[in-house]
């Protein structure tokens, strides 16, 4: 409990909460969109088997997770160091060992966990139907439909979250995000028809 209080305090001091929210929505959207692209693309190309989609999707998810983690960490670490240096100049003392310095370091790590975890989570969720398909629970075409439905639902939910954060119409924001996914799906299916 004390450890959690400490983490909450670091989040409050560093002001990383809005930044991590942004990273979460942006990267989770990326994760869902990429796996949606892999799934629909594979379907249009004619999937040989579920494992093809699972490994392609897993590769893309892992790459996005690592890229999100490293990118967010580097960006936040640089921003944090800049803020801390500026504060140290105003205070005329070193702050690295103080709660402010520790919070700044924690903020980089927290942003990295969110930035890397969000695409891995949403991408992973979209691949679940294919994992179940390997166990014989669904046919491949049903797995494709379920995966597309999951990706679109995630996009809608992310829009709802954005609407809630901005205290605006949650449904409208959900639909806006959903449109992006729908556009991608329609493009791929139009390509298959042509």
């Amino acid at each position: 409990m004390k450890f959690l209080d400490k983490l909450k305090n670091y989040i409050k001091i560093s002001g990383v909460a809005p930044i991590s929210r942004r990273y979460f929505v942006m990267n989770a959207f990326d994760g869902a969109t990429t796996v949606l692209g892999v799934v629909v693309g594979a379907y249009v190309a004619g999937i040989p088997n579920e494992l093809w989609v699972i490994w392609s999707g897993f590769g893309a998810t892992l790459a996005m997770g690592l890229s999100g983690f490293a990118g967010s960490y580097m960006a936040e670490e640089a921003e944090g160091a800049k803020r801390l240096n500026s504060l140290e100049r105003s205070m005329l003392i070193g702050l690295k060992d103080s709660v402010v310095g520790k919070a700044s370091h924690f903020a980089s790590l927290w942003a990295a966990i969110i930035g890397g975890g969000a695409p891995a989570l949403t991408g992973g969720v979209c691949l679940i139907p294919f994992l179940l398909s390997t166990k014989g629970l669904f046919s491949i075409s049903l797995a494709v439909q379920l995966s597309v439905a999951l990706a679109l639902s995630i996009m809608f939910l992310l829009g709802v979250i954005l609407g809630r954060i901005s205290s605006r119409n949650m449904l409208l924001h959900g639909v806006k995000m959903l449109l992006v996914g729908l556009i991608l799906t329609v493009i791929f299916f139009a390509l298959k028809l042509s």
């Binding site: 305090n9 409050k12 001091i13 002001g15 500026s86 504060l87 105003s90 205070m91 005329l92 003392i93 702050l95 060992d97 103080s98 709660v99 402010v100 310095g101």
Partner: protein, 108 residues
């Protein structure tokens, strides 16, 4: 030092400090942290000046046996720094500042 003065070294009853601190942690968190120190019975923090990144505060700590080192350590842990020690009251009872005729003539 501790041996030389014995119990007297922890007979500080009131400390008035001029402190420079970042905006976060805020004064509520700072006062809570100080009030949990051993020997501290009450804390009062007044913000004197607010700058873009830092703020200047008057920190008053009252108690029966305040450890200045502990107060200083806690403040530094929270990213604050003591600019000056403006008042110290120590001993068996708190002696308040008294006005003398010289003080009033100096103000005239």
């Amino acid at each position: 030092m501790l041996r030389l003065y014995g119990r007297r070294s922890k007979m500080i009853r009131r400390l008035v400090l001029d402190v420079l601190k970042p905006h976060k942690p805020n004064v509520v968190e700072l006062s809570e942290a100080l009030s949990h120190l051993q020997g501290v019975e009450g804390v009062n923090i007044i913000i004197n000046e607010i700058d873009q990144q830092v703020e200047n505060a008057k920190v008053i700590v009252a108690g029966i046996s305040i450890s200045f080192e502990e107060v200083k350590k806690k403040l530094e842990e929270l990213g604050a720094t003591i600019h000056s020690i403006d008042e110290v009251a120590a001993g068996k009872r708190i002696v308040e500042e008294v006005m003398t005729p010289q003080d009033s003539s100096a103000r005239m």
